[in-house]
Symmetry: none
DNA sequence: GTGGTCTAGACCACG
DNA sequence: GTGGTCTAGACCACC
């Protein structure tokens, strides 16, 4: 998968990398059980420091998206489960997003259509 | 409207404040044309620095949510319009959110139901 | 409070530091609401790197022992609560410890006496 | 006895294995004088490297939990005795555990009750 | 081979 | 002032 980072962005690199990997999993480019590049390899590919990659991997591990095996490195978790914290985060993020959209003139129908469109962009690579 | 900030959160205070105000507008607690507290008043009420409030107001202005009149202070914009930048931000934020949800096992139906539910929580206070 | 680290130990410095701080709180040397040294100060005092201290503080924050305020730095949490994860960790650690003690010939009475003695060593500095 | 290891845990495999064996002895599943599987057999059963098992056995030997006879392999020590090092380790581990528990709101009574409960879970399999 | 830890020092974001 | 991020490069622990 292709990683594109913007080092001049105000979003920390480790967050950008985290998001890109989550998107990769969401799009099905990274399948459950599939290995991620080693910390060193990813650092080299992305042109960043190993500690930055390490931090990203630790976060993804904490969030349950990946597991890290001492022997073979990191791989996408096989069984993902939505925990309560994540559910709350999802709802509050979505609430903010919908408030912004609504203020900017989108009604419910528009928003749901947008959701459909975004989902369609995710779908072709995997079965949901 | 009530502002609740968590100074020991990792989310910067000015972002929390910005989000709370956007939510307030989205919920109809702050109506178009309605005045916001002065920078000093808001700072006093929320127990934060005036610079922080000032930063928040500038951001809200840049995003088009409020207008700032030298004489009468800040007020909620009367005509909000979705510009291209905002549309892109919305779509990319939504994509990430849906990717996370999908990886954690939510399917499209679940997500759309969640959207309906969140919208219902926003609606009673205003007409969309 | 006095921090003593053993850089030649196999226990990572950030873990040693974490343990010392938890002990300090447990002994009442650090009271709820009391400030911890800044990251830089602690690093200087302990003769270690700021990032190492930062890591320790992040862990203590995650574990709920301290809170980090953007404005004034880190301080001991005022309301500590035992969550489920911690309860499980406590029980499994204790199980291992008691198994070891039992194999080495301690019976229940001996162990409970040891507990009393250790608690007495913690107590004089605070009210439990 | 059943050994369950988590290769994606942050706890080294040799430590996990060591703990499981100590627990097995503590619970009476492994009795004094009883043989442990050979290094190769254990490695095969647990799906890990022989070097890892070997390291675990050496540690258990150093700690006095097992003895290793060149001819008959490893077996649980017949006479366990608490040496000074172990006593110190036990006390310092227990101190940390009690500090954590105390900070999280457990008082002495709660802790002693927990000890009783944990001991009861160990007891049925052996005479203490 | 893998990830984990640590350092020294720089720079940025926040309030 | 505070903490947060990032780097380059070293060394260690684990398997």
């Amino acid at each position: 998968m292709i990683i594109s980072l913007d080092t001049s962005s105000s979003i920390p690199i480790y967050v950008q990398l985290r998001n890109q990997i989550v998107l990769g999993i969401g799009r099905g480019e990274l399948k459950p059980g599939e290995s991620l590049p080693t910390v060193r390899q990813m650092a080299k590919d992305a042109g960043i420091n190993t500690m930055t990659v390490n931090k990203t991997y630790q976060i993804l591990k904490t969030e349950g998206f990946i597991e890290i095996d001492r022997r073979s490195g990191a791989f996408v978790s096989k069984s993902q489960r939505m925990d309560k914290d994540f559910e709350e985060k999802l709802e509050s993020d979505l609430t903010l997003l919908m408030a912004e959209a609504s203020v900017k003139g989108m009604d419910k129908e528009d928003f749901l259509k947008l959701c459909e469109r975004v989902f369609a962009g995710l779908e072709p690579c995997q079965e949901l």
